[in-house]
Structures are given as structure tokens and as C-alpha cells.
């Protein structure tokens, strides 16, 4: 209903390349939304249209119900943005950059800023030119999380961060979500999205190919079933909902469609179960399903068969 971000048939072309091809994206207020796609799928272009840096060629984009191109400066008061590759002014220190970005939004909460500097373990006295990639990223993250805004636009924000800092980042996003902020997290790190996001949109070649909650997505995917049986089982291979069955004596392994789980478990129970694991599909598997043809083209077997 009250969508913070909404795009309708958004098209953006660069010369002959169509970066966004009728993109429909919707992020509700208070939601932490994962924006998944490989490099070049159009994630950054979509975010830059939402930021009013790029003008769309067709379709509509709305931020808080307003036009991000026309009202860019005004809308930016309510959001903070972290690009995937932060470039800093070589002569400004990290602290100066954070303060400047804070003042542009109307003021710096010094307590919050210092606490974040501590949590991200960032030295604010170094000049922009001497920060490493991860530290440049931290400067933008501290500035964004210190800001009192309604929306966080994060475009692959953790690239270059070590796992410890990745954990700090996850905490900060969770706190932002608890404070009622809307977060759009573009990423290709599945574990990050799985841990943080309620809803996910998968983008491919400028089109959203799947959007929904993780639970919904899982529902339409196959679970991985492994079992050690007491007696051999028959007929599994003939079942429509069973794929990639391997039988190794009494050990079986297969992918099962959600609708067929009932049947399969009943058949296994008949044979007698010594051990059983049933894994829901990971986000990675769901994601790879949409990119199966591209993987096949580059010689990698389809994602779902890759599960073992």
C-alpha cells in the first residue's frame, strides 16, 4: 500500500544498451528488501534512477510517492546512500567527509557518529587517498548509518569489508530495520540477503524476474531430501515431483517439489527410515535457477543439479 519505492515499467537506455527493460520494483515502508542480481544486471542503474542521477527513458519511478528526478534534492533529505565503490576526496580526512555529508543532511549526531566509528573500527584522521577499499566503504557506511533518515539505499555496500565488519554491518541494518527504516540492499552475497531481508527481488538483464518473500520463493522450489532407508524403496524414480534421484544401496538422495513432499515422505516411511534430512532450497539455489541458461552457456551445470 504505502510503498516507499515504486517503479512501473522503468526503461533506461545507454545508447544501444538497454540497462533497465520495463523494471517493476516495489518496496514497502519499513521493509528490508534484497535486490539480487549479478554484475551488469541493472541494480546500480536502477538505484541511480531512484536517486535522480539518471533520467528514465520510459515508465515511472517514485520515491515516497514523488518523482526522484524532479525532487531529487528534497527527497535526498529522507535517504542515505552507500555506493558499491566509494570514491573519497584525496585531501579530506574520513572524519571530515562524514561530517560534511552529515551537515548536508542538516546536522551530525556526534554521539552516534563516534559510536559507529568505534564499531566499524575506522580511523577518521586519515586522508581519503590513503584509505584502503574496505575503509573507504566504511566511511560511507558510517555517514549513512549516522544519518537520521527514512530510507537506506545500499548498493553492494559490503564489497571489500572483512567478515568481522560484515557482521557489524548486518547488525547495523537490523537496528535500522527495528527503528522502522526502509532498506533496499542490493547485493550478490546470498548469506547477507538471507540473514537480513524479508523480501527479495531478483533482477536479470534489467527485468525483475522474481519478487516475493523468501518463504514464497522456497515454496515454488525443490527441497533436497537425503535418507538412509531400512529397505529398498521402489517407484520413486517414476514420480513426477522427484528429480535427480541417486540411489546408492540404501542411501538415496533427490530433489523434491514442494507439492510432492507428502507422497515422497509416505513412500520413504513405508520403506523404513534410518536417517533423514530435508533441506529447503537456499537462496543461492533459487537465484541460480533464474540464471541456469547463462551458467549452462559458460559450461557450469544447472544450479539445481549442482546442489550435491
Amino acid at each position: 500500500m504505502n510503498a516507499v519505492i515504486r517503479t512501473e515499467n522503468l526503461v533506461k537506455r545507454f545508447g544501444h544498451v538497454t540497462a533497465l527493460d520495463h523494471l517493476n520494483l516495489e518496496v514497502a515502508q519499513g521493509e528490508t528488501h534484497g535486490f539480487l542480481g549479478p554484475n551488469g544486471a541493472g541494480k546500480s542503474t536502477a538505484i541511480r534512477v531512484l536517486l535522480g542521477m539518471l533520467r528514465s527513458d520510459e515508465g515511472r519511478a517514485e520515491l515516497f510517492g514523488r518523482d526522484p528526478w524532479k525532487d531529487a534534492a528534497d527527497l535526498h533529505r529522507r535517504l542515505a546512500y552507500v555506493p558499491g565503490d566509494v570514491a573519497l576526496w584525496p585531501g579530506l580526512t574520513g572524519g571530515e567527509t562524514i561530517d560534511l555529508l552529515g551537515r548536508l543532511r542538516g546536522g551530525v549526531d556526534k554521539r552516534k557518529r563516534d559510536a559507529l566509528l568505534e564499531r566499524f573500527d575506522l580511523d577518521p584522521r586519515k586522508k581519503g587517498r590513503s584509505y584502503s577499499k574496505g575503509n573507504r566503504q566504511k566511511v560511507a557506511l558510517v555517514a549513512a548509518f549516522a544519518a537520521d533518515v527514512d530510507l537506506l539505499l545500499l548498493d553492494e555496500p559490503t564489497s571489500g569489508l572483512d567478515p568481522l565488519m560484515g557482521a557489524v554491518f548486518n547488525e547495523c541494518v537490523k537496528e535500522a530495520a527495528e527503528a522502522g527504516r526502509t532498506v533496499l540492499l542490493s547485493s550478490h552475497i546470498m548469506s547477507e540477503v538471507e540473514a537480513l531481508c524479508e523480501r527479495v527481488s531478483i533482477i536479470r538483464k534489467g527485468v525483475i524476474v522474481e519478487t516475493g518473500t523468501l518463504a514464497e520463493m522456497r515454496h515454488f522450489s525443490r527441497s533436497r531430501v537425503r535418507a538412509t532407508l531400512k529397505n529398498p524403496v521402489r517407484g520413486l524414480a517414476d514420480h513426477d515431483g522427484v528429480h535427480d534421484l541417486t540411489v546408492n544401496g540404501l542411501d538415496i538422495e533427490c530433489s523434491v517439489e514442494t507439492a510432492a513432499l507428502d507422497d515422497v515422505l509416505a513412500q520413504l516411511a513405508v520403506a523404513g527410515v534410518a536417517a533423514l534430512t530435508c533441506e529447503p532450497p537456499s537462496l543461492e539455489e533459487i537465484f541460480l535457477r533464474f540464471y541456469g541458461d547463462e551458467l549452462a552457456a559458460s559450461g557450469v551445470p544447472n544450479g539445481e543439479e549442482n546442489g550435491s
Partner: protein, 545 residues
């Protein structure tokens, strides 16, 4: 295996991969090199072609020799030995007038080339990838220096071929003239290689290189003005001291340049082993943890980021104004020696030669000041291509503030440059004329150029706003204005062609009375072009890489 060969092998190990890197460097700098070759050789060719027509007879040249033979003019050209040969050889006159300037530009080319291939690559971590390959610790420096040496030889040969046709230049003279540029190139490539080891960043390495160049030009100027030994302290002076294309022509002063170049190369190779990757010998300092109160918005950030250019403008214009101002005093001597035709060329309708000179100098000064306005506009583009502007573009900042604030910053810098240049010109001019009443006239002549400078700067901004990729456009327009101001009369360009340059519409005060209407029109034009620029800045996509 003796220890000697082992040590040799170890030494060669630090140079492993030099050949491959050399080819790689050559490939990625080919456009840079071609551009500079074209500029230096093309400029030399143009002026070499024009010179014989400007002063066709020995009498013309002898007359000009008298006007040039003053300390002030010698400081801006070269040693007096050339002047003695003016009558007998156009080549001597050409070399005398050109060598200091094309020599200095050659130095700029090689300073930028060396930092580009060494420290700048370290900062962007491009070199890190290369170092992880089977490539020795000194290989990148060796490859950069080898490429510079090859480029220096090619440049010398091209310039030699270009001046072969100049009257008074035999083959030896022509190639000595080329070699004079090669020697300067080698010296500054070597010195910058040392600077690259010392500076904390590539910008400080560039700064050290340019400081060396500034000192060289200044020492040559001081030495030539007094025609004494001080010229021998300057690498550019050594090239001038070959007395190329005069009867006293000689090669051996160039040996000093080659020797200093080799010494610098040896020093650079010694230092490179004593510093860490990505670090200079002189460490950078820790900065502020918090922003000063003055840094509170996109506008103040722009002004802070362009502060360095502002200082460069002020210092350059102080020196330039003082240099031109000090010539004014000797204008009287010149007048006595000028032919009637020459007086005609200089005549801007003023009652005295000083006033005619002042009007010309004020325009040239203002054109130099405008360069700094254009450089500030260039910074706006750089913020975009380097991706730094992205953080601002995502903040509550209108397009009018970012990148819009680069226009006021550019206008402020250019205006300060004109005013400082005017004060400096007026002070030095009044002193050399020994007439303090002329201070107001000289200062007024400089300040009157402001509307034209504003038009040029506003155009540069509008060009950036509408056609961000066409950075050459602003320089093309500047170059056009420069050609009109310098050579417009000489080349007998039609009036409407000269009229394209905004400077053409400013009256030749103090040689002529001030005309206020064209000035008002220029101010309005500057405002209109600015508005057009802002419209462009609001309209286009911002592309950050």
C-alpha cells in the same frame, strides 16, 4: 657460480620484466605521447614557417635585435649571443625566441609522463597487479625511464627535422636544436624519477618536478637578463647556451644535461629500494578527525577543493604581471629603434608606446588568468569521472549547488587571477616607468578584461554542463582567443573572425578610451551563458564510474 655473478643476477632480478613493461607503457601512453609530439612539433613548425615572413631582411632583424637587447626582453628569451647573430641568421632569432618556451613545455611533458607511469599507478593500485607478476622491484621505474628516453630522442629528432628548413640552420644546427630539447627531457625525466621516490603522493611528486622546472626557468631568466654565469645553473639554460644556429654553435653544454639526467636516474634507482610500495620517503601527516566549521556544504567543499588552483593562479599572475610590468620601462628604448612599420603593428591608437604595450599586455595577462578558471571547471568533470561526486549527488544538494558551485569557484579564481595580475603589472610597470600616475591606468586596463574572462569561463562551464565528454572544447575556444589576441593583427584576420573572441570587444585602454557598451554586452553574455550552463547541469544524467 661466483659471488660476483650471483650479485649481478640479483641485480638483474630487480629489473626482470622491464622489456614487457616497456611495451605495455608505450601502448597505454601512446595517445599522451602523440598529443604532446603533435603540440610541440606542430607549434615549432607553425612558428618556424611564420618567422621568415615576419622579418624577411637582415635590416628588419637587426632592427628587432636592438629592441630585444634589454635585460627584461633577454630574461624572456635567451642569452645575448643569439642577438648578435640575428642579422646573419633567421635561425638564431628563431632559436632565441623559442627555446626557453618549448624547452619548458618539454619539461612539463616529461614531468607528467614520469609521475603518470610511476607514482600515479601505485596510487590506483594498477601497479600492484603488475608487481605481483614476475616483474622486478625496479622494473617499472626502468621501463618508465626507458620509455622517456626513447620519447626524448624521438621528440628531438622530430623537432630537428621540423627546423631543417629554417634559414640559417644547417643540418647540424637543426639537430642540435632538436637535441637541446632531448637534453631537457632527459634532465626532467630523471629529476621527476627522484621526486617520485620522495613525494608522499603523486601530486607531491608532480609538485616537486614543477618546482624544479620553475627554478630552472627563473635561473635562466635571471642569468640571461644579466648575461652572466647564473644561466649555467639552469638545465634549460644549458640548452640555450649551445648558441644553436649562431656562428658560435656548440654541443658540449648538452653533456651537462645528460650527466645530470644520469645522476638523477642513479639516485632514483638507489632510492626506490629504500622505500615501501605506495609510500614516499617523505611521509604524509594525519589530518583532522572532524570537519572544520567552514566545511558545511557543497559550495564550501568546491572552494576548498579548488583552493590549490587559486593559489597557483595568484602566484603565477604575480610573477607574470611583474615580468610584463618590468618590460614597460624599456619600451622607450624600443621605440627609438623601431621601424615605421613595426610601430604600425604595435599601434593601438595610443599616444605613447607604453600605452599601446599596456593594452596588449593586459589582454595577454587576462588570457593567462582565464586558464585558471578553465582548470577549475575541469575539476568538476574530474569529480564526476573519478566518482567522488556521487556522494554529493545522493545528498540533499541541488544540481545548482553541485556541480553548479564550480562556476562561481571558477569565476572567483579567474577574477582573483586578473586582479592580482593587474596589481602586480601596475606596481612593476609604474616602478619601471618611474611614473606612479600610471598605476591606475595599468590596473584599470587589466580589470577591464574581466567581462571577457567571465564569458570564457562561463562558456567552459556551459560546455561541461551540456557536453561533458568534450573537455577539449573549452581549450579550443581559449586557444582561439589567444591566437586572435596574439596574432590577429599579424595574420590580418578579418574583423568578424577576430570578433568571435570576447577579448576583441574590449577597448585598448589605456591606448584608447574605454567603451562601456561592449563591456555591458559582454557581462550580459556571460550571465546568459551561465544560465544556459545551469540549465544543462539540471538536465543531464550524471555518470559516475
Amino acid at each position: 657460480m661466483t659471488t660476483a655473478t650471483a650479485a649481478l643476477g640479483d641485480n638483474l632480478g630487480t629489473l626482470a620484466g622491464t622489456g614487457k613493461l616497456l611495451r605495455f607503457h608505450a601502448r597505454r601512453t601512446r595517445l599522451y605521447l602523440l598529443g604532446w609530439f603533435a603540440g610541440l612539433v606542430g607549434g615549432t613548425w607553425l612558428i618556424a614557417a611564420a618567422f621568415p615572413n615576419l622579418y624577411p631582411t637582415a635590416e628588419d632583424r637587426a632592427g628587432y635585435a636592438l629592441t630585444v637587447d634589454t635585460p627584461a626582453m633577454r630574461s624572456m628569451t635567451g642569452p645575448g649571443t643569439y642577438i648578435d647573430a640575428y642579422a646573419s641568421s633567421t635561425g638564431a632569432m628563431f632559436a632565441h625566441n623559442m627555446l626557453l618556451w618549448t624547452g619548458a613545455l618539454t619539461a612539463v611533458m616529461f614531468i607528467l609522463l614520469l609521475t603518470r607511469l610511476t607514482r600515479a599507478d601505485e596510487e590506483t593500485s594498477r601497479l600492484e597487479v603488475i608487481r605481483s607478476e614476475p616483474v622486478g622491484r625496479r622494473a617499472d621505474l626502468a621501463a618508465a625511464l626507458l620509455l622517456a628516453a626513447v620519447a626524448a630522442l624521438v621528440l628531438g629528432a622530430l623537432i630537428g627535422l621540423t627546423v631543417l628548413g629554417v634559414d640559417g640552420a644547417d643540418a647540424e644546427g637543426a639537430f642540435l636544436y632538436g637535441a637541446a630539447h632531448t637534453a631537457i627531457a632527459l634532465v626532467f625525466a630523471g629529476l621527476t624519477a627522484v621526486a617520485a621516490q620522495l613525494g608522499a603522493y603523486s601530486s607531491s611528486a608532480n609538485g616537486l618536478g614543477f618546482a624544479a622546472l620553475g627554478a630552472s626557468v627563473l635561473l635562466a631568466a635571471v642569468g640571461n637578463a644579466q648575461d652572466n654565469w647564473v644561466t649555467w645553473l639552469s638545465p634549460i639554460g644549458w640548452s640555450q647556451l649551445t648558441y644553436v644556429m649562431t656562428p658560435e654553435q656548440r654541443w658540449w653544454p648538452l653533456a651537462l644535461g645528460v650527466a645530470l639526467g644520469l645522476l638523477a636516474v642513479w639516485l632514483a634507482f638507489t632510492l626506490v629500494a629504500h622505500r615501501d610500495f605506495g609510500q614516499g620517503m617523505m611521509a604524509g601527516r594525519a589530518g583532522r578527525a572532524e570537519a572544520p566549521a567552514s566545511l558545511r556544504g557543497a559550495g564550501s567543499l568546491t572552494f576548498r577543493l579548488t583552493r590549490g588552483l587559486m593559489w597557483a593562479a595568484v602566484i603565477t599572475m604575480l610573477l607574470l604581471g611583474a615580468a610584463y610590468g618590468s618590460i614597460l620601462g624599456s619600451a622607450d628604448e624600443m621605440l627609438a629603434n623601431l621601424s615605421e612599420e613595426q610601430r604600425q603593428v604595435l599601434n593601438r591608437g595610443g599616444s605613447s608606446i607604453e600605452e599601446n604595450f599596456a593594452a596588449t599586455i593586459a589582454t595577454i595577462d587576462a588570457l593567462f588568468a582565464a586558464i585558471f578558471g578553465l582548470l577549475v571547471v575541469g575539476r568538476a568533470r574530474k569529480e564526476e569521472t573519478d566518482g567522488r561526486g556521487e556522494l554529493l549527488a545522493a545528498a540533499p544538494v541541488t544540481r545548482g549547488r553541485w556541480p553548479g558551485s564550480y562556476l562561481p569557484a571558477a569565476l572567483t579564481t579567474a577574477t582573483a587571477a586578473v586582479v592580482v595580475g593587474g596589481v602586480s603589472l601596475a606596481l612593476a610597470g609604474a616602478a619601471s616607468l618611474d611614473d606612479w600616475g600610471s598605476f591606475g591606468k595599468l590596473f584599470g586596463a587589466s580589470v577591464l578584461q574581466l567581462p571577457a574572462v567571465w564569458v570564457l569561463t562561463a562558456f567552459a562551464f556551459a560546455a561541461y554542463a551540456w557536453l561533458p565528454r568534450a573537455g577539449w572544447l573549452r581549450w579550443l575556444v581559449w586557444l582561439y582567443a589567444f591566437v586572435v589576441a596574439y596574432y590577429g593583427q599579424l595574420l590580418e584576420m578579418p574583423g568578424w573572425l577576430q570578433g568571435i573572441s570576447p577579448f576583441d570587444h574590449i577597448a585598448d585602454y589605456p591606448a584608447a578610451d574605454v567603451e562601456w557598451l561592449p563591456i555591458a554586452v559582454l557581462v550580459i553574455a556571460a550571465a546568459a551563458i551561465s544560465a544556459l550552463g545551469y540549465a544543462g547541469a539540471r538536465r543531464r544524467d550524471l555518470h559516475f564510474s
